[in-house]
Symmetry: C2
Subunit: 535 residues, 2 copies
């Protein structure tokens, strides 16, 4: 286990904001919303939390890999979404899993699933627990005799590296940093760096269609999966390790994104990259967000595929201390292990200039701190990594702070964006008496972007959860109504299930349910996720 890992929130305690930083955040919020007296609740302690005695006990044959102590059960209760942090700070761990299993190999997983199938115990597959959609929460209804969280952290080796094909066979429970460390001696890298990188696992990434480092082309983990091994209650599914195939509906794509509802991913052959040597980076300012978005469209439709092309609106740039001013910011980067990238960057910059983009030293307003290109990109990188810690502090001081992400075609985007911003401001004013919304693009495609909205708003004491839920519901309805998806890379889990069902054809849902009936006949796997509860 990662030393210092919190059982209630993001990451490790030692990386939490200092008292000074917390005061700074509180001060900014007080200024922004014209409120006063914001104080951070202290995080919960193990002694304080409300947690029930387990309903079930593991059989002797499994007790060696099963934990039932308070820490493990509490740590496997919630993900890292807004409602999760609120409930954790509320000391409410009533829905903790009865048991946390820590299998050491595939046959442990098989035995656990066998026991759970026989005993009617719900299984919650658990990678790093960084879900923000309650994908790992043991809230399974009344149809089960208990809930068991299967934490894959001990199944965590890089088993084999194929240098020639640039691929590796990797066990699902490995965390991001350990994975990269194991590949480094071969000068290889997966380059999958979701915001959760430090505290999430390969198996979790694959199960949830995680979004990684690349802003274009290989955006989701999906593209890097050569094969998948999954243990289901009915047995093993393993897809064939291949660079590509045209044999029937893709079996990998059927397992990728199944979010633990079909089985547990135990390992995968992953496509790797050589570690980059050549880099071209730039940060640009645009007169407004829509101009920046048109520049992103131009670069993507030009077929340039930068590894990084993220844009922040002025609000997002200000909130994250990246840039102060009315301009939108773009962070642009190409990388290669093989060749100089001048030609690529040069053409991308031309596309940007055609849409009003300028490098700060080209005469556009620089930030108040006079940041240069490196300053802006560096500030964004730092903000990106620290965000979850700031965000926990915001929740601890009673704010509603949430992120909502989607994807939509370019043609629809301008109206989509204006409606979302306008409507959400209205909702925040009505529900919270005010609020702050900002937007960035996390990923982009030739046919559309993936916009990512962040909101922060004050709440009334005791209503933080319900007011947050109202806002979540409002924006989710908008996403679906305006032609977006309920999630581009945060997955479905329990929080998105209602809107996911509106997004997909009912018949496709029934087909998935029938498939689950084969793989998980007792309906024990992550009940309520992807497929409506079956018992």
């Amino acid at each position: 286990m990662i030393p210092g890992r919190k059982f209630w929130g993001w990451g490790v305690t030692k990386a939490d904001l200092s008292e000074g930083q917390k005061k700074d955040v509180a001060g900014r919020m007080e200024g922004l919303f014209d409120i006063s007296g914001l104080k951070l609740s202290p995080p919960p302690t193990l002694a304080e939390i409300e947690i029930a005695e387990p309903d079930i006990t593991p059989p002797d044959s499994l007790s060696g890999i099963c934990a039932t102590d308070r820490w493990e059960r509490a740590a496997h209760t919630y993900g890292k979404g807004f409602p999760d942090i609120v409930r954790a700070y509320g000391r409410d761990f009533k829905i903790a899993p009865d048991i946390v299993a820590l299998p050491n190999n595939e046959s442990d997983v098989v035995n656990l699933l066998d026991w759970c199938s026989r005993e009617g115990v719900a299984v919650i597959p658990y990678g790093g627990g960084s879900s923000v959609v309650a994908g790992t929460e043991p809230e399974v209804g009344n149809g089960y005799n208990g809930a068991l969280s299967i934490d894959m952290r001990n199944i965590n080796k890089v088993l084999e590296i194929d240098r020639t094909s640039r691929a590796a066979n990797i066990e699902a429970g490995i965390y991001g940093p350990a994975l990269e460390a194991a590949l480094k001696p071969e000068n290889l890298t997966l380059r999958h760096f979701p915001q959760s990188f430090q505290f999430s696992t390969l198996g979790g990434w694959i199960a949830t269609r995680s979004g990684g480092h690349y802003a274009t082309m290989g955006t989701h983990i999906d593209e890097f999966v050569e094969n998948v091994r999954m243990i289901t209650p009915s047995g093993l599914i393993e897809t064939r390790r291949l660079p590509a195939s045209g044999a029937g509906p893709s079996p990998e794509r059927f397992l990728i994104g199944s979010e633990g509802a079909m089985g547990i991913i135990t390992s995968a052959w992953m496509r790797l990259q050589d570690r980059p040597v050549f880099r071209e980076n730039a940060a640009l300012l645009f007169p407004d967000f829509l101009s920046a978005s048109e520049a992103v469209r131009a670069v993507l439709q030009a077929g340039l595929y930068p590894s990084n092309i993220r844009i922040l609106d002025a609000a997002e740039a200000w909130f994250n201390k990246v840039h102060e001013g009315n301009e939108a910011v773009m962070v642009l980067g190409f990388e290669s292990a093989d060749h100089e990238l001048g030609a690529w960057m040069q053409r991308a910059l031309e596309c940007c200039r055609e849409h009003g983009g300028a490098l700060p030293d080209e005469g556009a307003d620089t930030s108040t701190e006079g940041r240069n290109t490196e300053g802006i990109a560096g500030a964004w990188r730092d903000a990106f990594i620290n965000m979850p810690y700031i965000w926990e502090a915001l929740v601890a001081m009673g704010m509603i702070s949430e992120t909502y992400e989607t994807a939509v075609t370019w043609e629809r985007f301008p109206e989509f964006h204006e409606t979302v911003i306008t409507e959400m401001k209205k909702h925040m004013a009505e529900i919270c008496g005010g609020g702050f919304i900002s937007c960035r693009f996390t990923y982009a495609y030739p046919d559309g972007p993936s916009p990512y909205y962040s909101i922060t708003a004050p709440s009334k004491k005791g209503s933080q959860l319900s007011m947050g839920a109202e806002l979540k519901s409002a924006i989710s309805e908008l996403f679906i109504k305006l032609g977006g998806t309920i999630t581009h890379h945060h997955a479905v889990g329990r929080y998105h299930h209602k809107w996911y069902k509106q997004e997909r054809s009912e018949l496709f849902g029934e087909a998935l349910r029938a498939a689950k009936g084969v793989l998980d006949p007792s309906g024990i796997m992550n009940p309520g996720v992807i497929i409506d509860p079956v018992r």
Copy 2:
């Protein structure tokens, strides 16, 4: 209907080889195999063929869109694979569909499926009929009261073009040339040019995971599908039109490659390209095929993604009159609508030179005809388009002429390739007294190539079909045993079903079967394809 379309074989009669060309082909075969007296059988005529009276008649409500004449029934009997042509030249059309339906819209399709579900009539979805794996053959066993081929050719419009997102909503029955013609005024193109381009449809491409123009990156049609509409016997499935999503297992990927076993694709939003303006092309010679393959690997792993990078071994180059000599040939090309490609080509050529590649005018042996770069690329383009006509002539003169394609990781490729070549030469010697085998790469990925093997061998009179089946079986076993896939882009159909089942996990097959049970409860859709016959 395309004027002059054959009911028995590839394309249109007017594009068939001239008598002189046929003699040339026969002469080359006689020289190659030291045989004599090769004569082409004449193609069948409608009067000659053996075809039974239909077992069923359509109800009055559907008779207006149902054809039962000899031509339509004969034309919808076979695909364009080797066994298909042999049987067609044998005048054997006994398995012709009872009825050929020509729906004009989705509600016609719904009514047809309703009737077939009620009456226990098997449905064979039909695009252009270019399947080489018997995907459209009405060989459905004894569980049905008849077989109806649904030809989608009248549902063929480009419904809407979204210039901003570069996408279009296109009906499934449109043929390649009509699709491109409809997009041209907007300066857009799908750029999906499978060898069957002229005689295949969008719906067929999606249903079979067709391989197109791009040798790298967007190789399969899969990547260009924004959404799919499919009519199943249980109703409509439509996926949401999105640039990307992370919501559950991809619904598009579940329908793409379903080969008519779940339902009939009626339309799709497709991602498009601007028509290319800038091009860089080169043809190179390599001392041997493995050096050329290493160059392909280097270019792909460098992240350059040329639109064309095809290599031919010396045998393939000779057979197709592209180059004479011991060298392997590479045809390399970049294209863009946006920017000059000098930097891309320059680095790709460096990668090639590092592996022994040379431009013919750099001092490597040129072909006996002294072909320059354009000559080689042009010769390959011509050969590629005319191949199916030559191939029909070979079959008509009693040769066995087949193609087998797969994909395999780079690390496995050298042994894979050597074994396939050695074993197949042995098999051809034993079965046919000799034979010719050649290889090219049709597509390539950072983690492996898609090798494509072509064989030609003499047969004994009356044994052409069984000897061909023996060879097909031998190479398919090798593909599976050596870690390849049974198909990279020819699909599964009926010919590959046995090996497809070895390639996929049994549990995945059962999950697909359960899903089919929901979408097609009477089991009428393309029986025996992808899923074992259900009645």
